[in-house]
């Protein structure tokens, strides 16, 4: 004990965080710096050419077809993010507040809504591909059985419905997680607040709007950031449901599939263009998340 005291704290703790720090740097920081490095060179296949500065970025942002592909994918990601906030997270909040008010059986419903979250994305995509199939899919069949045959669509086959369909499937698969976070947050609000409001004659909706919703701020912030990061990383579900070429006609192409096609495709410039795209995606996601967290954490919720 005495001997330990004499070593300055910095050195004393070095053995505990240094190994983690080194591994972390090797696997996260180093590849990231490398991606930046790759993006500044000319590449022919796996052969590195000369240093060309920002030429790859200029090419990606100003020449066709790169420019319009990038913008299209970017717009689809924005659509996906806003749509997910509106569909998935609003539903999650709605069901969380309903489940929270239940006196019995909450665990059962909770497990039920959380279940799809436990399934592999590959599996979810495959399953819904079958359900949405225009020829033999049960969804169109069910619509016809209900007399709504007019609504039967080639859901994934036409540009207008392809991305929204994937969005809904994604919401189906993920709603459980934000719902759990909201439920946990609702559980942390002192019951005395709600009782006081009830005594004052507040309606259920007023209690939700003026007491619970403001106090849900911490989980809403986390859910928003996780949704943002998740959606700009979106790849697996789109890849499984629509392939990597954004079919039909690029209607489902997001940054994730655009990157996959570019970086692991057959183009001679795969590494230079792929890395440039990766760097742009990283800068965009990191700065927006940090900005949002900075803005959001200005005021803190205090319960007492």
């Amino acid at each position: 004990m005495n001997k330990q005291r004499k070593i300055p704290t910095f050195w004393r703790f070095l053995p505990f965080w240094l190994p983690a720090f080194i591994i972390y740097s090797l696997f996260i920081v180093w590849p990231l710096l490398n991606a930046v490095g790759y993006s500044l060179f000319e590449w022919k296949g796996l052969q590195r050419g000369g240093f060309i500065g920002l030429d790859n970025f200029v090419r990606l942002l100003t020449t066709e077809p790169w420019r319009s592909n990038l913008w299209r994918a970017f717009k689809h990601n924005i659509f996906f993010f806003i749509g997910t906030m509106l569909v998935q997270n609003t539903m999650a909040l709605f069901f969380a507040s309903i489940l929270h008010s239940l006196k019995r059986g909450r665990q059962f419903w909770q497990n039920l809504f959380f279940m799809p979250h436990l399934l592999a994305t590959v599996l979810v995509g495959f399953l819904w591909n079958l359900i949405l199939n225009p020829l033999f899919g049960p969804l169109n069949k069910a619509l016809k059985m209900l007399g709504l045959g007019i609504l039967a669509q080639p859901w994934l086959g036409q540009p207008l419905t392809a991305l929204p369909s994937i969005l809904v499937v994604n919401a189906w698969a993920w709603m459980g997680f934000p719902m759990m976070l909201f439920l946990a947050n609702l559980g942390s609000i002192p019951a005395s607040y709600l009782e006081a409001a009830e005594l004052d004659g507040a309606t259920g909706f007023q209690i939700f709007r003026y007491i619970q919703l403001p106090l849900l701020r911490p989980s809403i912030i986390i859910v928003t950031v996780l949704t943002f990061i998740g959606n700009f990383n979106a790849f697996e579900l789109v890849f499984v449901m629509a392939g990597s070429d954004g079919s039909p006609g690029g209607a489902t192409d997001v940054l994730g599939t655009f990157f996959y096609r570019t970086a692991f495709g057959t183009g001679q410039d795969a590494i230079s263009m792929g890395s440039s795209l990766a760097v742009i995606m990283f800068i965009f996601i990191a700065t927006s998340s940090v900005l949002f967290l900075k803005l959001a954490s200005k005021e803190k919720v205090v319960y007492d």
Partner: protein, 273 residues
Amino acid sequence: MTKHKLWRFLFYFLITAAAIVFLIPVYLVLITSLKDPGAINLNSTWQLPKVWYWQSFAEAWDLLAPKFVNSLILTVSATLLSAFFGSMNGYILSKWRFPGANIIFPLMLFGMFIPYQSILIPLFKFLRDTGLYGGLPGLILVHVVYGLPITTLIFRNFYAEIPDDMLEAAKVDGASFFGIYSKIIFPLSISGFVVVIIWQFTQVWNEFLFAVVLTKNNSQPITVALAQLAGGEAVKWNLPMAGAILTALPTLLVYIVLGRYFIRGLLAGSIKG
């Protein structure tokens, strides 16, 4: 009071309707996996199988068993390692405020904001150069490292709730760094471990992008094999459906065993930021 009852009825109606939407796909998977391939057609999609056909499970298991084992090794090791290191990091960062902690913690969180795609090409090259490409150890390492930011964050928030006085008392009694960890911190963080284990287990088990890029044939995890099984156009539905059920079993099992502690753990840790 009647108004109150009306609301209650409406609530139950809504969650029941939602529950049906959530269960229909599961129903379809179950019945299709149990049908004779010859009996699968559009007109009987919604009907229960006339003859229960268990053969598909045996066939799917034969195809997927080696990949299932790969996934099990991958997921169990990556989950336990990232949970353990995350809890050590959280302990050091929340209770042993040393100089530099304020730089290291944000730097670790930074890892959460990195899109996997951004580092995929260099990571692939790095693993190839170090001989880790293609096998399970490389993929385990990648999942441990990419799990650390979230596990560290959860544990750090979790440990912030443990009163410092408790640790001071133990220090006065002569407990060492590891003594305090194993006697006080670890037993108090069981529900934190539950959250982290459920989260990491489902993440790693279900992950596809790293798996498909960083492993070769024999070491592929089950998601990659399932994607191949389901990918062909001419496949009979029963086989991938049975494979889908087999693939989902481990995560369901983890949730069934640990799920009841999940909300409690979330409450204690991750929603404070």
